[in-house]
């Protein structure tokens, strides 16, 4: 079943066309990895899906409803789409627990007791139960990023966007974050990831999309993209990484 449809999305900054008609569909439970050179527009595409940027042309549909319609309430869409950025995600003045329960309580109207119980369950599931009362600056980078992911899924979004969530981390910390993402895939979360971790993309993706020159040049099963890339640009990109 199709969850998200990106149809001919165009995005321009000043004179620079970053996205020139991107088409992509994502099914429920599917994990899509976006790969491509730095500056190819991966982050831009994810920000468009979460309506943090407005598209200049084309449309994005969630559950067959157009979310790029000017009359939609962005806050309403964001309740259903979670996003985690590269870094600087957590609110430094709140404990880990408050970071996670903020949106369930203040946006979704869940009671404090119930929200905290759910948050603690998630923290336990991802091995962070002892950190509930700590402030973010007491956590390692990998722990912070895991909390950021937990916070994004605490509202049970239909779709989770992950924008290079490991690229600000020490290599030794990358694996604990990737472990969380793997676990989310097993639980059936639909995800779009922008990543530079090719090994991980190959391992976890159902579909890999190669973004270059503002379009999706090639999309396919990871074995096909990494094993037998069709497009010469894909071959060139992969040989460099």
């Amino acid at each position: 079943m199709t969850l998200l449809t990106i149809d001919g999305v165009w995005k321009r900054y000043g004179e620079h066309d970053v996205l020139k008609g991107v088409d992509l569909t994502v099914d429920t439970h599917e994990v899509v990895c976006l790969i491509g050179a730095s500056g190819s527009g991966k982050s831009t595409l994810l920000r468009c899906v979460n309506l943090l940027e407005t598209v200049d042309d084309g449309a994005i549909l969630l559950d067959d409803v157009e979310i790029t319609d000017v009359r939609t309430d962005p806050d309403d869409v964001r309740k259903r789409i979670g996003i985690v950025f590269q870094a600087y995600n957590l609110f430094p003045h709140m404990t880990v627990l408050d970071n996670i329960t903020l949106a369930p309580r203040k946006v979704h109207g869940v009671g404090r007791a119930q929200a905290e119980e759910q948050a603690r369950e998630l923290l336990t599931r991802f091995g962070l139960e002892t950190k509930a009362r700590d402030y973010p600056d007491r956590l390692s980078g990998g722990q912070q990023q895991r909390v950021a992911i937990i916070r994004a899924i605490a509202t049970q979004p239909r779709l989770l966007l992950l924008d290079e969530v490991t690229s600000a981390l020490d290599p030794t910390l990358v694996n604990e974050v990737l472990g969380v993402i793997r676990e989310l895939k097993e639980s059936g979360m639909t995800m779009i990831l922008a990543t530079h971790e090719m090994g991980f993309a190959r391992d976890i993706a159902d579909t890999v999309c190669f973004l270059a020159d503002g379009v999706l040049l090639e999309r396919g099963h990871p074995d096909q993209i990494f094993g037998a890339p069709q497009h010469p640009r894909t071959r060139e990109f992969l040989s460099r990484t």
Partner: protein, 282 residues
């Protein structure tokens, strides 16, 4: 976790050295303080005009006579401060938030807030006290208070709100935009983002400059004396005029200092704590 820590000889030696260093710097501080204070006191007492100054500014008898009235007046200063300060904080934050609204619908409010801060920050407080204190009653409007204490307090509120609003605004601007993006991406509206994410962080950052403004407001409550109410400065003036002695002014000054010094130390304490919380960096 399984082995327990037994202090090594190296660590014991290190701690002994640290203790000795601490003792040395403590005694150095004591000696230099005694020397400096001694020199200042000696210089004062040895100056030729000292006996006269002591009589007109530091007369014990004049202090004892004036103290009850000046102290009673000072309670009015404290009262004005305690009423004005919370109002200033609320209004100041409100003006700062208005200036942060980006939607075109709010343009008039935004412009009004900007105009208000520009104008009222520019008017000297004492002028504003005169303008409100004498100007408003002259209008003879129905239902508008005529009490000079109330009018003086309003003037202080008008003036200080514009300063406090700017302090809040700079605090809000100093919060990294990624914090706003993170909050919005969780589905929080602009209002909730400000309320739960941006403002709490901004307020923590501006506590030291705010306390600085508090200290300044606390002093400026004396300006209400210009309108006639019997607060500390006014009481001191009356006593000084009766006795031809300036000690009542010194008495009032001491009372103001007695309140600002603890506030200044508290500010330092908060600033130090904020620095520690940021891990000493920046």
């Amino acid at each position: 976790m399984t082995t327990t820590w037994v202090k090594s000889d190296r660590q014991k030696e290190r701690e002994k050295l640290l203790k000795a260093q601490g003792r040395r710097s403590l005694s150095a501080a004591t000696i230099s303080t005694v020397v400096v204070v001694g020199l200042v006191v000696f210089g004062l007492l040895a100056s030729p005009g000292w006996p006269r100054v002591r009589e007109t500014f530091f007369s014990w008898d004049a202090l004892v006579t004036a103290l009850p009235d000046v102290l009673r007046g000072f309670l009015l200063n404290v009262g004005i401060f305690l009423i004005a300060e919370p109002i200033i904080l609320v209004l100041g934050l409100g003006v700062a938030l208005l200036r942060g609204l980006r939607s075109p619908v709010f343009f008039p409010l935004r412009a009004l807030a900007a105009l208000y801060t520009d104008v009222f920050r520019g008017i000297p407080v004492i002028l504003l006290v005169y303008l409100v204190g004498f100007g408003v009653p002259a209008l003879q409007l129905q239902g508008v208070p005529n009490d000079p204490v109330v009018l003086g307090t309003i003037a202080l509120i008008l003036s200080y709100t514009s300063f406090v609003a700017e302090v809040f605004r700079s605090g809000i601007d100093s919060i990294h935009p990624s914090q706003k993006a993170a909050a919005r991406s969780l589905g929080l509206s602009h209002g909730k983002t400000m309320r739960y994410v941006v403002v709490p962080q901004a307020v923590r950052r501006v506590v030291p400059p705010l306390l600085n403004d508090f200290a300044s407001l606390q002093k400026d409550t004396a300006l209400v004396a210009m309108l006639g109410p019997l607060e500390a400065l006014r009481q001191a003036q009356i006593h000084a005029a009766e006795s031809f002695n300036y000690t009542p002014y010194v008495t009032a000054a001491l009372l103001f200092v007695a309140l600002t010094v603890p506030m200044a130390r508290f500010t330092d304490h908060l600033a130090a704590r904020a620095a520690r919380q940021r891990g000493g960096a920046t």
